[in-house]
C-alpha cells in the first residue's frame, strides 16, 4: 500500500502525522497551564488537591505525546532532529529539565517523608507549566523565523551562535508565540477545570481568571499572526531546491492552500467560541470547542510551515542549508515501514478515549478527595 507512494507523498504524510502530534501536544499543554494556577485557584488544601488531581490524571498523556512527538520527528525527519536538538542545546535542555521535575511531582507531592516538601513539588509543577509552554512555543516559532545553523555536505550540522538556542527566546516574534501558547494553556486549563471539577468556588474563580487569560492570549496570538502574515518567508524552488526569501510567504501559503485557510479560521473561531461559552454560559463544554479549535489551528500553522514549497526549519546563516520536508527526511523504505505502524494510531486513540472516559465518568469533588476508606488513589 505505502510502497507505491512516492517519496514526496510519504514525506507529506509524515509531516501531517508529526503536525497532528504537535497539535495534540499543544492542546494537552492545558496540564501545564493548570499547573501555573494551583495556588491562585485553590485557596484551601482540599481545593488544591482537587486541582492537582484533575491535572494529575492527565499529565502522562501530555508527557507521552511530547516524547512521541520527539520520536516521530527523529524517525521521519532525522536531519531536523540532529540539527535542532544538537544545536539549540539550551532551549531543549531547559525544556527537558522542566519536564523531569514534573514527572515526579504528582506522585510525590503529598507522600509522607517526601524530602522536598509539598510546596516545593507545587513549585516544580509551576516551573514546568511556565517554562514548558513558553519554550515549546518559542521553539516552534523558529519554524517561521529561522535559526543560525549550517549543515555540511556530510549532513553534519553546527549551530553558529554561541547562545545555542537561547537567542531564539530573545526574539520578540518567537516570544509572542511562546507567550500565546502559555496563555492558551491557561485558558484551556480553566475550561478543563470547569468541566472536570464539581466545585462552585473553583468554577467561579476559573471564570474570572478566564477573562484575563483569554485577553492576554489574544493579544500575543494576534501579534504573532499579524507578524507572520506580514513577514518574508522561506520559499523553496521546487525544481532546483533553492531556498529564497519571499515577501508575505505565509500569507501566500494560506491563500494558496484554501483548506488550510479554512482550518485556520475554523480553529480560531472554535477557540473563541469555547472561551465565550466558558465565560458567558453555565455549560461545561467550553473545553471541547476550544480544545478542538486549538488542534485545528496548530495543525494549520504546521502546514503553513512545511507545505507549499516552504522550508520548515530555515537557516538564516545560510539559506541553502535550510531544512525542507524533502531534504531532512528518512528514506523511502523507512517512511514506508513507519507508515504501516501509523495504521495503529486510530486503535491507540480509541483505547485512550475509552480509558479517559472511564476515569472521567465521575467529576472530581471534595468527597472523593477526602475519602480515605475507598480504593481511590489521591495525589
Amino acid at each position: 500500500m505505502f510502497e507505491s507512494l512516492s517519496h514526496l507523498a510519504l514525506q507529506e504524510y509524515w509531516w501531517v502525522l508529526v503536525s497532528i502530534l504537535g497539535a495534540v501536544l499543544v492542546f494537552l499543554l492545558f496540564v501545564q497551564g493548570g499547573q501555573t494556577m494551583i495556588s491562585c485557584l485553590g485557596k484551601t488544601e482540599v481545593e488544591r488537591t482537587m486541582i492537582v488531581n484533575s491535572l494529575g490524571r492527565k499529565w502522562e498523556f501530555t508527557f507521552t505525546t511530547l516524547v512521541t512527538f520527539g520520536g516521530a520527528f527523529f524517525a521521519s525527519f532525522p536531519l531536523f532532529y540532529s540539527t535542532s536538538f544538537g544545536g539549540a542545546y539550551w532551549v531543549w535542555m531547559i525544556i527537558l529539565f522542566a519536564f523531569i521535575i514534573q514527572a515526579v511531582s504528582y506522585e510525590y507531592r503529598t507522600r509522607p517523608n517526601n524530602f522536598f516538601g509539598e510546596r516545593t513539588y507545587e513549585k516544580f509543577l509551576f516551573v514546568n507549566g511556565l517554562i514548558g509552554t513558553i519554550f515549546l512555543g518559542t521553539a516552534v516559532a523558529t519554524f517561521f523565523s529561522g535559526s543560525q545553523f549550517s549543515v555540511s555536505e556530510m549532513n553534519q550540522s553546527q549551530w553558529e551562535v554561541p547562545a545555542h538556542g537561547l537567542e531564539a527566546a530573545l526574539n520578540f516574534f518567537n516570544l509572542s508565540l511562546g507567550l500565546a501558547v502559555f496563555f492558551l494553556a491557561r485558558v484551556l486549563a480553566l475550561l478543563y477545570f470547569m468541566n472536570d471539577i464539581d466545585d462552585d468556588t473553583i468554577i467561579e474563580r476559573a471564570k474570572k481568571r478566564l477573562v484575563i487569560n483569554a485577553g492576554a492570549f489574544l493579544v500575543f496570538f494576534l501579534t504573532f499572526v499579524v507578524w507572520l502574515m506580514l513577514r518574508d518567508g522561506f520559499a523553496v524552488n521546487p525544481d532546483t531546491g533553492e531556498v529564497y526569501m519571499e515577501p508575505y510567504k505565509y500569507f501566500n501559503n494560506l491563500i494558496g492552500m484554501p483548506v488550510v485557510l479554512i482550518m485556520f479560521l475554523l480553529g480560531v473561531v472554535l477557540v473563541l467560541w469555547g472561551i465565550f461559552v466558558g465565560i458567558k454560559s453555565a455549560s461545561r463544554k467550553g473545553i471541547w470547542y476550544a480544545g478542538i479549535g486549538t488542534v485545528v489551528t496548530v495543525l494549520a500553522l504546521f502546514f503553513l510551515a512545511g507545505f507549499h514549497n516552504t522550508a520548515f526549519y530555515p537557516s538564516t546563516y545560510d539559506l541553502q542549508n535550510s531544512l525542507t520536508i524533502q531534504n531532512a527526511s528518512s528514506s523511502h523504505y523507512t517512511l514506508t515501514a513507519m507508515s504501516y505502524v501509523s495504521l495503529m494510531i486510530p486503535f491507540v486513540i480509541a483505547y485512550i478515549w475509552y480509558a479517559w472516559r472511564s476515569i472521567n465518568v465521575k467529576r472530581i469533588d471534595k468527597e472523593e478527595m477526602s475519602a480515605t476508606d475507598k480504593d481511590g488513589h489521591v495525589y
Binding site: E60, F61, F63, T64, L66, V67, T68, G70, G71, A72, F74, A75, S76, P78, Y81, S82, S84, F85, G86, G87, Y89, W92, M93, F97, F99, I100, I101, A103, V104, E107, Y108, R111, P112, N113, F115, F116, E153, M154, N155, Q156, W159, P162, S330, S331, Y333, T334, M338, V341, S342, M344, V348, Y351, I352, A355, W356, S358, I359, K362, G376, H377
Partner: protein
C-alpha cells in the same frame, strides 16, 4: 572530518549519557518486573476473590507507582539526548534508529501511560476484569517500551539490515525485520527484560523477608515470597539461557568485547573462563608490555570460554593482541590494516562528495558504483569507522591502534560480578521456596537476611550488566562504523559540563526523595493498602 573535536567534549558527553542511562536503569528494571508481579497477584485476587490478595496487590502496586514516576522522568532525557549530545550520530543512523523510537512512542508509551491511569484511579470506577486487563496492559506496555529501545541498542552493537547511502552520507534501512529479529536484538531484549524480572523478584522477596524478620504481616509476606520466588526462578533461568545466547553473539560480532570481558590478551584453543581474577598492572601497562600471565590472581576453568563462545571446548577464541596485530593462522585482520582500509572508505566518500559538488559526473558515477559493489563494501566500507584513527605517520598510526581497546578492567569485573550475582540469585530463590514450602521460612532468619541484602546486589548486577555491554564496546557507538568522537554534537564542553552537574544534582535529589518515600511506605506495611 573530525580532526578538531575536543576530546574533553566527547568525554563529558559520554559522562552525561552514562549518568542519565545508569540512573534511568536504577528504576526501569523494577518497573519491568514488578508490573508483571502485580498483574499476577491481581489475577489471583480476581480468580479467588480473596481480599487478602487485593491488599497484597495494592501494596506492591503502590511501590510500583512511586518507582514508575522517576523512571519516566529520567527516560525523557535519554530520548532527547541522542539529539542534543550525539547529533552527528542521530543523522548517521536516524533512518534506522529513529523508527524503533517512534514505534516505541506510538505503540508502547501510550499503552503504558493510558492503562497505568486506570490501574491507579480505576479501582472503583471500572469493572474488576477491565482493571485486571489494565494492569496486564501496563506491564506489557512497559516491556514493549523496552523492546524498541533495546532493538535500537542491539543494532548499534551489530548493525544489520541497512546499506550506506553516499548521497545522504548515512545508513539507510533496507530490511526492517532483519533489524527487529537479529539474534543480537532478540537476545538483548530477552536477557535485559528477564533480568528486570529477577530484580523485581528479589525486591519483592527481600522486602517480604524484612516483614518476616520483624514478625509483621506474615501471611502477606509469605504469599509475596511464593509469587516472587517462582517468578524470579523462572526469570533467572531465562536470564542464564539468553545470557549464553548473548555471549555467542558477542563472540561472533564483537570479539574484542568478549576478549576484554575475560581479560584474554593472547588467543588460544580451549580458552579458559575465569571464575574471578585480579589483573596485575594497569590496562595500559598490560597492552604496552606483553606478559605471559596478566593476572595476579585468578581461578580459571579450562576450555570453558571456548565452549561459551562457540559451543566447543576445543575451539579457538581470539585475544586482544590477535585483533590488534592480526593473526594469519586464524585469518584475523590487524586493526592497523582495518584503519588503512577504513581510511580508504572515508576518502572515497570525500572524493564522491567533491565530485558531486563540482559536477564531475564521470567521477561521481564511478565512485557511486563502488558503494554498490559488494566486494568493495566488504573490503573497505566494512571498516569505515576505523578510518577515523588513520595517521600518515606510521608511528602515530601504531599508537592509535591501542585506542581501539576498551577499558579491560572495568569490562572484566563488571562481567564477572554480573554472572556471579545471577548464580547467587538462583540459590536464593530455590532456598526461599524450599523453606516456604516446608513452612519454616520465618524461622530461617539467616536466609531472610540474605534475601534482604540481595536487593542492593540485584541493583549492582543490573548496573554491571550495562557496563559490560556499553564499556565493553568502546570506542564504538556503532560497531566498526562510528566511534564516539565522530558522533558527538558540536557544542561547548562548558555547556555539557554545566548540564552534567545539573543532571547529577537533580538526580541525587530525586533519588533521595524516592528512597525516603519508598521506605516510609514499606514501613507502613500493607494494612493500610500502602496508601
Amino acid at each position: 572530518m573530525v580532526e578538531n573535536i575536543d576530546l574533553s567534549l566527547v568525554d563529558w558527553s559520554r559522562g552525561q549519557f552514562a549518568l542519565t542511562a545508569m540512573f534511568h536503569w536504577i528504576f526501569v528494571p523494577l518497573t519491568l518486573g514488578l508490573g508483571y508481579i502485580v498483574a499476577i497477584m491481581e489475577t489471583i485476587y480476581v480468580k479467588t476473590g480473596n481480599p487478602e490478595w487485593k491488599r497484597i496487590t495494592k501494596f506492591w502496586m503502590n511501590l510500583f507507582g512511586i518507582n514508575f514516576a522517576i523512571g519516566v522522568a529520567t527516560g525523557i532525557i535519554l530520548e532527547f539526548q541522542f539529539g542534543t549530545n550525539w547529533s552527528n550520530y542521530s543523522w548517521f543512523v536516524g533512518d534506522i534508529f529513529g523508527a524503533p523510537l517512534a514505534i516505541e512512542g506510538i505503540m508502547a508509551f501510550f499503552m503504558e501511560s493510558t492503562f497505568i491511569a486506570v490501574m491507579f484511579f480505576g479501582w472503583d470506577k471500572v469493572s474488576r476484569k477491565f482493571h485486571l486487563t489494565s494492569s496486564w496492559l501496563t506491564a506489557i506496555g512497559a516491556n514493549l517500551s523496552a523492546l524498541w529501545i533495546l532493538v535500537a541498542n542491539a543494532w548499534m552493537q551489530n548493525p544489520v539490515g541497512m546499506r550506506f547511502n553516499p548521497e545522504t552520507a548515512r545508513n539507510e534501512m533496507e530490511n526492517f525485520w532483519e533489524v527487529l529479529f537479529s539474534p543480537t536484538a532478540v537476545n538483548k531484549f530477552l536477557h535485559t527484560t528477564t533480568s528486570g524480572f529477577v530484580l523485581a523478584s528479589i525486591f519483592v522477596v527481600g522486602i517480604s523477608a524484612w516483614f518476616l524478620l520483624h514478625k509483621r504481616d506474615q501471611m502477606f509476606a509469605k504469599k509475596s515470597i511464593v509469587v516472587g520466588s517462582i517468578f524470579g526462578l523462572i526469570a533467572t533461568f531465562m536470564v542464564i539461557f539468553t545470557g549464553d545466547g548473548a555471549a555467542k553473539d558477542i563472540a561472533k560480532h564483537q570479539p574484542m568485547k568478549l576478549a576484554s570481558m575475560e581479560g584474554l590478551y593472547q588467543g588460544e584453543t580451549g580458552a579458559p573462563l575465569m571464575i574471578y581474577g585480579f589483573f596485575s598492572g594497569s590496562d595500559e601497562e598490560r597492552l604496552k608490555e606483553p606478559k605471559e600471565d596478566n593476572f595476579a590472581f585468578n581461578i580459571p576453568v579450562p576450555g570453558m570460554l571456548s565452549f561459551l563462545a562457540n559451543g566447543d571446548f576445543d575451539s579457538y577464541v581470539p585475544g586482544i593482541r590477535d585483533m590488534l596485530y592480526g593473526n594469519d593462522e586464524h585469518n584475523i585482520l590487524s586493526f592497523e590494516e582495518r584503519i588503512k582500509r577504513g581510511h580508504v572508505a572515508q576518502q572515497t566518500l570525500k572524493e564522491f562528495k567533491d565530485a558531486e559538488k563540482n559536477g564531475n559526473t564521470t567521477k561521481y558515477n564511478s565512485l557511486k558504483a563502488k558503494f554498490n559493489d559488494k566486494e568493495w563494501l566488504n573490503t573497505y566500507m566494512k571498516y569505515f569507522g576505523y578510518g577515523t584513527y588513520y595517521d600518515p605517520d606510521p608511528q602515530k598510526l601504531k599508537a592509535n591502534v591501542l585506542e581501539l581497546v576498551p577499558p579491560v578492567t572495568i569490562a572484566f569485573h563488571s562481567f564477572h560480578i554480573m554472572v556471579g550475582l545471577g548464580t547467587l540469585f538462583v540459590l536464593v530463590f530455590l532456598l526461599l521456596l524450599f523453606y516456604t514450602m516446608k513452612n519454616k521460612i520465618e524461622d530461617t532468619r539467616w536466609l531472610l537476611w540474605v534475601a534482604l541484602w540481595s536487593i542492593p546486589l540485584a541493583y549492582l548486577a543490573q548496573q554491571t550488566g550495562w557496563l559490560v555491554a556499553e564499556v565493553g564496546r568502546q570506542p564504538w557507538v556503532i560497531q566498526d562504523m562510528m566511534n564516539t568522537r565522530m558522533a558527538v554534537s558540536q557544542i561547548g564542553t562548558g555547556a555539557v559540563q554545566t548540564t552534567f552537574w545539573l543532571f547529577a544534582i537533580t538526580f541525587v535529589g530525586l533519588a533521595i526523595a524516592e528512597v525516603k518515600i519508598m521506605l516510609t511506605q514499606i514501613k507502613k506495611g500493607p494494612k493500610e493498602g500502602g496508601q
